[in-house]
Symmetry: C2
Subunit: 267 residues, 2 copies
Amino acid sequence: MIHEAMRYSLLAGGKRVRPMLCIAACEVVGGHHSAAIPAACAVEMIHTMSLIHDDLPCMDNDDLRRGKPTNHKVFGEDVAVLAGDSLLAFAFEFIATSTTGVAPNRVLAAVGELAKAIGTEGLVAGQVVDLSCTGTNTNVGLDTLEFIHIHKTAALLEASVVLGAILGGGSDEQVEKLRMFARKIGLLFQVVDDILDVTKSSEELGKTAGKDLAVDKTTYPKLLGLEKAMEFAEKLNEEAKEQLAEFDRDKALPLVALADYIAHRQN
Amino acid sequence: MIHEAMRYSLLAGGKRVRPMLCIAACEVVGGHHSAAIPAACAVEMIHTMSLIHDDLPCMDNDDLRRGKPTNHKVFGEDVAVLAGDSLLAFAFEFIATSTTGVAPNRVLAAVGELAKAIGTEGLVAGQVVDLSCTGTNTNVGLDTLEFIHIHKTAALLEASVVLGAILGGGSDEQVEKLRMFARKIGLLFQVVDDILDVTKSSEELGKTAGKDLAVDKTTYPKLLGLEKAMEFAEKLNEEAKEQLAEFDRDKALPLVALADYIAHRQN
């Protein structure tokens, strides 16, 4: 049953943006995609784990995710907590034991980078501040909003890109350029998420739409207005792509396409 | 607040059996204790994380742990879930980034071993079966009981020892001998836990005593009777120490002492 619960959410048909970023970053620095496959799987496991835990009744209390009932709705809260824990642990196991053809010190650096993206400098930090800001009617400013997004969404997107770059054999300079690229699209991803929440239906999104508004969550459209939020998204997309200028143009095409996809996605 | 929640449970005064096992295993194979310190901290973080999540209302619903209110009683369920997730991630970050003087391939092997001890072949597997057996009045046999204990308790004790042995530079043979030692004391640990639950008060234990009986949990004293359970504990202690026969006698003394401590502890 625990394996069923893990598979249920992992294979619920996400967009797989993080694995694609990981593999594209590996290839842009000249690595073979096979070097990044276990890491690509691992970042999707971490992402899934964060969704399962965030959806719990004691957190965001969501019933619908990717068009299906959330994990705890199907398997119970106890199994949902444990399925998340398992996915978290298995992500590290899989990177550490299944990555082949890469120097161990690079794999180790990837493990450290991934772990950092989860903890109190990453996903968890974002969720903690998010929970403390929801429905309190406190005056949440742009700074706090960016903190939440950078940690809750951007940290793992950044790690996905950086892991790919490290495992693909990128130089320190290349890794840092791609980190800057990832930070821009990380923020972009969340701005677009906020815009979709107010412009699309639940059916189109595959999750509860208008939820941010209902729980009085601070969002970019709320802070900037819808039009300015859309302009901000375009600006971030352009800035992200500027970071790729020094890479081989052909090899950078998948990353450019992913940035455009994130900017223009409809769900 | 999330850091406070992590520290609250991590520094609540556990027995630190796992870190001591990790360091002792490192030294018995001839390693310097400094090689195992980050791993020793990591196994304690994982242990603490498993306690925080196991105590949640949707799991074992415990109010008291190590003589103090459980994490969710103090910080709320949402923060307790996230504090556990953070400790899990930080354990991997700490091993991967803070272990010094050890070849990267050994550190990587340690990461893989630790991750395996948590997931569906370890802690989580034990908790899943434990939850499914509690209060159901199904006929839980000795096989199921051993499965629960081997996974819920013994897996991390085993990993603590194996991590120390790997990071200390132990040969494959030495690592396997110490793994056998760890399996014996892992089971021993749980048998003694079960015995203490029926023979000690909550005050003496620092956690709710008689709880296993109250929720109709299958335990060794329930299955074997108290006397036979105590005999079984002694047998396991002897068998564990036999595994140390081929190591330097002086260097093995801390592991022998830890086995005796586990067998004869009063809380």
